[in-house]
Amino acid sequence: MANDAQDLPRVAGNGLLDRRLFMRTLALGAVGTATAGVSLADPVSKGQPEWMLAPGATTEDYGTPSHYEMARTRRWTVPPAGQTATGRSIVAFTPHHQLHGTLTPNGLHFEVNHHGIPDIDPDQHELIIHGMVRQPIKFNVAALANYPTETHNYFLECSGNSGRLWADKPTPANLDITHGLLSGSEWTGVPLATLLDEAGLQPGAKWIIAEGADSGSVSRSVPMDKAMGDAMIALYQNGERLRPGQGYPMRLFNPGFEGNTSIKWVRSIRVTDRPAMTRFETRTYTDLMPDGKALQFSLGMDVKSVITRPSNSTVLPKKGVYEVTGIAWSGNGRITRVEVSADGGVTWADAALQGPVLPIMLTRFRIPWQWDGGPAVLQSRAYDEAGRIQPSRADLIAARGTHGNYHFNGIHSWGVGEDGGIAHVYA
């Protein structure tokens, strides 16, 4: 952190600096650490940290994070109000304020399990494809292992992500609660089109109804262009078998669609000419508009971004140059541009995008910012290759009201106070 940045080039109001700056001038010189004086009578170890003075732990069969991190880098899993009937948590939110990558560690991926996580014996699980097909067929895990696979980095987002930002007051909640129903992973599986082709679609087949092997057999209708497009039956996440909370041993994955459509523990795919109008596409995951009508099959996740650092879980210790960083994503394809504002949206500057910028995946952005100790409002605004631009919260609400519950993608604002404290604000 440089304190003397008066001459650094400004690119927008209230201290935003050129996005290339960190690469150019702010590389800090190596700081020499003075070694404690060791006299002739002392063992050489004097002053060294205790973890260097005896051999460390042995390796684990399955590695775990540092126990220090286990205590602080955690998902948020308290059951939301109204869903406590079983006394168990059905949700887990990714702590984006504590993470810095674009790939979410498997143990920190978000989950929404309406009817809990089934304990499925992979040797007994089958996926059956039936309905408007030439030949109904079934696959177990072993059969699917014979197919060529595809691997893609994709984000997955629940349409309920950021739901509390429809509320008329800003929230003291951290980024896990406001943006944690979003994660990014490398997904590997068999293209669904391969399996549907094998079953043989009949003319007039327009939808699939996917159903899970959980205790609610959660089910969704998915349009055929998706099913025959980039949908896959995912078997691996970040290189290892799916975790139980992600659908072990197999899940449907619909890139860029709202998370609930990517049916976990999938065991049935019915090919039909119309949707089934399941509970999760009528009562739930439909977006109520101000006129009392509700948007149905609002499946695509729109362009969105959020600043993850600094955030309301941190404090700026003193004036100086800071990195402002965050993530941007769009179900429509690649992120093409992210702008950042430090003056509540009056002026904007381009942030640097971390490559490779992949379609339907989290993209990290960064920009240097010189905080002069005065009040500031930090915001980010994302653009995607379909030409969509992340809206201000006010514009979003003007179009959709505040009762939609789902698909909030408005610009997020962090208010910075003179004491360096940070809070969520509406700006």
Partner: protein, 183 residues
């Protein structure tokens, strides 16, 4: 044979022509049997496709509901540990919309299907089809949608007219322009 069953049978016959093994040459799927399909095919469509045999009325459903549902949803469907199932009519365009089976759900078949496949929450699918018809009738009756003695079965359930049947606007592939912030 019911129409869906008959259709399925014809499809099966057609599929059989010139095909001894499943699918494409390099496929690894194996043929699914009628029993396989029956086990996993739980979806029920608004037109009644795949509704099971059986019937029930709200009068019959009251006691069953009390036994299996009241603890979480309240004796009158007012919601206790879990969702409210009754009320909220006319609130959808108000300041505090109240989405329930009565005010929001567009199809009675979805109500029956969801209850039958997922409830009671801790023991899904544990009741008989007769009981599920009766409980569904009870929940609909509590919402003033059907009378207490109305018999629900595979023929009458799809005809139940839900108050919010026309309350939904298709948003696939695109959000209608009037609700899009970019228009």
């Amino acid at each position: 044979m019911s129409t869906p069953k008959l259709l399925r049978f014809c499809v099966f016959l057609l599929a059989g022509i010139g095909m001894t093994t499943a699918g494409a040459d390099n496929g690894f799927g194996t043929p699914a049997t009628e029993e396989d399909i029956e086990r996993v095919y739980l979806s029920i469509f608004p037109d009644g496709e795949n509704l099971p045999d059986g019937s029930g009325t709200a009068d019959e459903g009251k006691a069953v509901y009390e036994m299996y549902c009241t603890v979480c949803h309240g004796a009158d469907g007012e919601g206790t540990l879990a969702d409210k199932l009754v009320g909220g009519r006319g609130t959808l365009d108000s300041d505090s919309p109240d989405k329930t089976v009565g005010s929001y759900w567009p199809y009675a078949t979805t109500v029956f299907n969801y209850i039958r496949r997922s409830m009671p929450y801790t023991a899904p699918m544990s009741l008989t089809n007769e009981e599920y018809y009766a409980i569904t009738a009870f929940v609909l009756h509590k919402n003033d949608i059907i009378s207490a003695d109305k018999v629900l079965d595979r023929n009458s359930l799809p005809d139940v007219s839900m108050p919010n049947r026309d309350g939904f606007v298709n948003a696939y592939p695109d959000i209608p322009p009037e609700y899009d912030y970019m228009h």
